[in-house]
Subunit: 414 residues, 4 copies
Amino acid sequence: MGCSSALARLERVREQTERLCEPLETEDYCIQPMVDASPPKWHLAHTTWFFETFVLKEAVPNYKAFDPAYEYLFNSYYEGVGTRHPRPERGLLSRPLVSEIYAYREHVDDALRNLLTSGPEDEWLRRIELGIHHEQQHQELLITDLKCNLGHNPIRPVYLDKPTNPAPPVSSQTTFVAFGGEMSEIGATLTTESFCFDNELPRHSVWLAPYEIADRLVTNGEYLEFIDNHGYQDASLWLSDGWAEKNARGWQAPEYWFQQDGGWFEYTLHGVEEIDLRTPVCHVSYYEADAFARWAGGRLPTEFEWEAAAQSGNDLAHGTFADEAHFHPRPQNPTFCGDCWQWTSSSYSPYPGYRPLEGTLGEYNGKFMANQYVLRGGSCATPHHHYRNSYRNFFYSKDRWQFTGIRLGRNLDH
Amino acid sequence: MGCSSALARLERVREQTERLCEPLETEDYCIQPMVDASPPKWHLAHTTWFFETFVLKEAVPNYKAFDPAYEYLFNSYYEGVGTRHPRPERGLLSRPLVSEIYAYREHVDDALRNLLTSGPEDEWLRRIELGIHHEQQHQELLITDLKCNLGHNPIRPVYLDKPTNPAPPVSSQTTFVAFGGEMSEIGATLTTESFCFDNELPRHSVWLAPYEIADRLVTNGEYLEFIDNHGYQDASLWLSDGWAEKNARGWQAPEYWFQQDGGWFEYTLHGVEEIDLRTPVCHVSYYEADAFARWAGGRLPTEFEWEAAAQSGNDLAHGTFADEAHFHPRPQNPTFCGDCWQWTSSSYSPYPGYRPLEGTLGEYNGKFMANQYVLRGGSCATPHHHYRNSYRNFFYSKDRWQFTGIRLGRNLDH
Amino acid sequence: MGCSSALARLERVREQTERLCEPLETEDYCIQPMVDASPPKWHLAHTTWFFETFVLKEAVPNYKAFDPAYEYLFNSYYEGVGTRHPRPERGLLSRPLVSEIYAYREHVDDALRNLLTSGPEDEWLRRIELGIHHEQQHQELLITDLKCNLGHNPIRPVYLDKPTNPAPPVSSQTTFVAFGGEMSEIGATLTTESFCFDNELPRHSVWLAPYEIADRLVTNGEYLEFIDNHGYQDASLWLSDGWAEKNARGWQAPEYWFQQDGGWFEYTLHGVEEIDLRTPVCHVSYYEADAFARWAGGRLPTEFEWEAAAQSGNDLAHGTFADEAHFHPRPQNPTFCGDCWQWTSSSYSPYPGYRPLEGTLGEYNGKFMANQYVLRGGSCATPHHHYRNSYRNFFYSKDRWQFTGIRLGRNLDH
Amino acid sequence: MGCSSALARLERVREQTERLCEPLETEDYCIQPMVDASPPKWHLAHTTWFFETFVLKEAVPNYKAFDPAYEYLFNSYYEGVGTRHPRPERGLLSRPLVSEIYAYREHVDDALRNLLTSGPEDEWLRRIELGIHHEQQHQELLITDLKCNLGHNPIRPVYLDKPTNPAPPVSSQTTFVAFGGEMSEIGATLTTESFCFDNELPRHSVWLAPYEIADRLVTNGEYLEFIDNHGYQDASLWLSDGWAEKNARGWQAPEYWFQQDGGWFEYTLHGVEEIDLRTPVCHVSYYEADAFARWAGGRLPTEFEWEAAAQSGNDLAHGTFADEAHFHPRPQNPTFCGDCWQWTSSSYSPYPGYRPLEGTLGEYNGKFMANQYVLRGGSCATPHHHYRNSYRNFFYSKDRWQFTGIRLGRNLDH
């Protein structure tokens, strides 16, 4: 990535973050509806902190930090940087003000612009590139956390009106496609043009037994059948931890669903809508995805099965990404990506020969490689340019506030 | 209270609440730093809800509620009104917006004005009077909750600059004054002019053994001696529940105190200040007040001892009330009221013959008469006009975020 | 108390503790069904520890402790003695064995016998007297904790068969008796013969307004009416803390009650029995007692009202005490004491001029004088000789595992 | 397995369980030191319940259950059987008595003997075989739970004296052996003679990149170097969840280790012993194993790497198993099995084509395939005959009370 293209890209991404906040009221910036979901203000500041900490403070001699307190306030989890404001208390800070955070962004953007026009070393270019992808990740989190914020407000405010462009016509039948019975190459292929996170490397061989995989996501209609067939009441369908979690939390349907006057509705970022049976089901935990798959006579695919199949699907049209500003899944034609992140049965762990980045940035991915499950495919809240088939997202098995859905796999020879 | 004086008083009090919010930024209105401390926005709305629910909806035919959702959102604890938004989630609501709450206030003020100019029945006048006192109570809570909000922000913002008017000169010596050995009359005397809560009635007789009581509050200087004498480390000074609470929370000093560079400082609503040894100690729990008193060779007075003594002190100048906009205690001359609420050793319980108000308003006081301790005297956050010597405030023994201090009592004949 | 009578009394009480354990199996000695309820083994050891710590280690030169580890293991809450085994883990100790605890008791009994026959100083006689009363208190706790242990076992084992002696005939009508309108003397009268705890002193004057008090306890039949009248569903009857506690714990009836085949039953130490409508209701919290009283148009008496009335009732037959080995309340004729401890509306606090015992024994009572309520009257688990009208028992408002019942009071002039 | 050999094997295993309990006192049978660790009494009963529920009640017409309440009391986690006594309350049951549990075992053993001598169908033979292996699993848990029970008692009782047979001489140097770069066959090979759990099937192919693996376990001496090098203080070595868990629990060394007079000691089932530097380190969590491996420049092997290597090591002598009644790891020569279960980096998940057993027995393994990590190799508490190289044990990453140790792996070509 050259300096000028880097600058253009940086500006585009930074602006996009702010564009996502345009519909917000000042009050919306401050709320943390649960520990996992940070306030918009925090996302705006933390992405900026990332550039300040890992680029400007190291690359720019005599760089003057915007506010020394921010090092503590907006560090997410980097032990190598020092102590930090406790995550559960991100929603307890009325100050710094939203306007101050925007000024912070401008201060850092200016300094980055100066740096980029000064012919920086490659290392800083690489870190800026990482910071851009980091900010895109947080664009998705900003959307999911905002949905959690507004969606748990009893008056269920609208974030954006629904785009009026009609959904494309969709074919009605899910088809299973056979793969496997061979070695597959898994992981990112690095070129000078491309970017990937350290956790997508090294590319390596995996032997895959024969399997089938669905050509699209499970729909609300299919999921409603599971509900109507007492899927939430039948312990034999559930993992033990999942059954306990479901009971403890009283889950009876995906997050944001509710029943009223005998019908099913869900909160979307366009407000409350009736459940559309053709749309991919969304906001389910790993446990629900796994139970549904068992009920449907299938299973979740591994991340390797998923990636091998997805490589074959590159000619397919893709589903909904964030660029469409729809922020809710839509009925799908055959595709592997878009609309909902797809739970795989693979625990998040390092690829053989994995090496984290050097220094504190090594905390970016590696230290989370335990107790979480890999999700693939991107979602309606993911910037399209940020996505690639080797992308490994990861969340805990109980998490439901992301746009998480289900693609079925099946054993082929049994 | 006549209609026109009621109207004047109502307007004054309603304006005063909003005046207290003038220094706030929009972001400050939304924060709930702990379960006990509600956001300013909530106080603005709940006090309005009180008038709407207990006056307008009953007194005004065809009254149109500002927003039907508010009945649920801004009910504090009235079971008789119905379900309500959970208290721990008051800080999770970005909407209604601050501007909408101000519009709500205007809507209700207009309707109250119409009602008052229409010659309402006495019952509505009585309820408006109650609503005015209710709003004054919440003015104090707004200040204490805001201090909790700003004071727990690592950057410790200033609410208001310190008034420049100098504190009056104070005499340096605490004197103990003897009372008791006789029957005392305790409780409010009702006249047509005066107001009191139901919990101050009926006025009744109590026999008091001889006792002494200090003519002013314990100071920071005296409390520092307790700290320096290892008061926080000596279990023999503490109630059992207090010792456990102190250890669980790691208390080593009053709330808002901290040590830096060998000195003691505290957060005030004017920002961080060095501890002033002459100022009454503030933000201590009942446990700390009790342990200090034991260490000092005294004890906390009962609320009856306190009130009997306070009746004799009516000629004294009073301490700091909210009207001075100082919002922090100041060095005292002999007085019984102002600066800090004073923990008494009396559990909050009904006076003999106590009758709560009729109907849902009976939940105002009576249902809290368990597990809490009575505080007397008013504080620097209490509107002066709201205060009277028979006033019974009450909090749990562990609470420290109110302006709570210590007045010593002593047994006389031992 | 002379040495020989002290010795006789000591032996009688120590034997009685062990007699209470005769029906136990080894396994029963080890269980702690909840934090509050200690294992029988612990009671046997702790009462012995009390004599060893406060008498033998101080009074007997070169006294050899039975096992040095016991100082830590069997200290209940005396900070002055040092650290101790955490209370919630008393049921996690399989060792020392039950047989070792009995050997410990023998070791200490022998040493006490030697001490008492050696003509000890008065201080040691006083402490032995205190230890005897301490052991009697723990006899009651042993019974209540054992009921909790067995009663929460799904197979509900029997502790003792029900004595076959028939209950006396009872009169059917509760009468309210008027008192008050005068000064009353409250607290123990100390004579050379009598014993009392420090919290019963000093005897002092209290002015009591006129009131009425029931001549017996509320019965199961009356309490069932409260249940059938939706007493547990009507928030207007409950204290705010009580309503929250009831909801959190799902209370629908007193502890140990359950419904089966349309009827009400309760676990007793004789096994499961049908609810007897004439028996005093038992195992209710302060909150339930208070709600029942409000529903019944009365209130709980203060401890002073109770004691003043009880002094007048000394000619009455008494109710059931532990000496009858019935361990369950029985239908009552007019009496003030026995069967069930009676919740009063008085918070547990020091009498005017209260002085705790000197030194570590001062922790016996004084440090608990916060957040608890006074109960009066003794119960079917209290040794009769241990009881007196000035006796102040105290528990938290949520506690239900003691034999706690209700006596109604009423304002007279309303 | 024929009927007579099944009977002989059944009797041997059932007797062995009771032999393990011979050193116990009655009190030891009842204790549950933490939720995970069940009382010995429960293990004795539950293993018997397993035979009664899955064999006798189905196979024997008119089988008379020993006690109907046991179906509820001793069900571990089988939803298909019905509700059950809550796991956290297993230590709150003094009844049934230990003697009753032994009578229960005799009752069931008699019935099984009758069944086996009556020529039962193959299905019952298969279930009895499963029950035998189930009981052997619980023999290990009985030992680990007992160690937790005794080891957390402040007086640290001895379970068994240390066997006097000397440990074999050991070579001092750990060697890394290279494997991989080929397809490997993973999983059990079923023959008519052998047994395996459903989770070891089907045998399937896995491609393994080249790797190295240590020929023995990490020793206490090596682990002490990690401690002395501030391994517990260096966040960069830890997984994020591990760092949080370590801090929350205050871990500074493996479970059962403590420092005294400058030296390191550990509780063993033979009592307290000084740390032996040559012995494999034991009682570490997955987090500690992972952090140690990172510190040592290696990583944990996958379960596939482990199994492929272990197949090559079949000629090696094995380490310590439960049959030696040593119940503590001992210094090792090169071996793959025995002494300590070895954490692998593999999340516990189904093999491709995995099928759980039919019916309720399908809950045995499959429903736990989430959030846990696979351990391999057996331990000093595992019956040797119960062990095989394809055996997959699984625990949560935070668990430390099993005999869990560390074998290092390494990437070969980086």
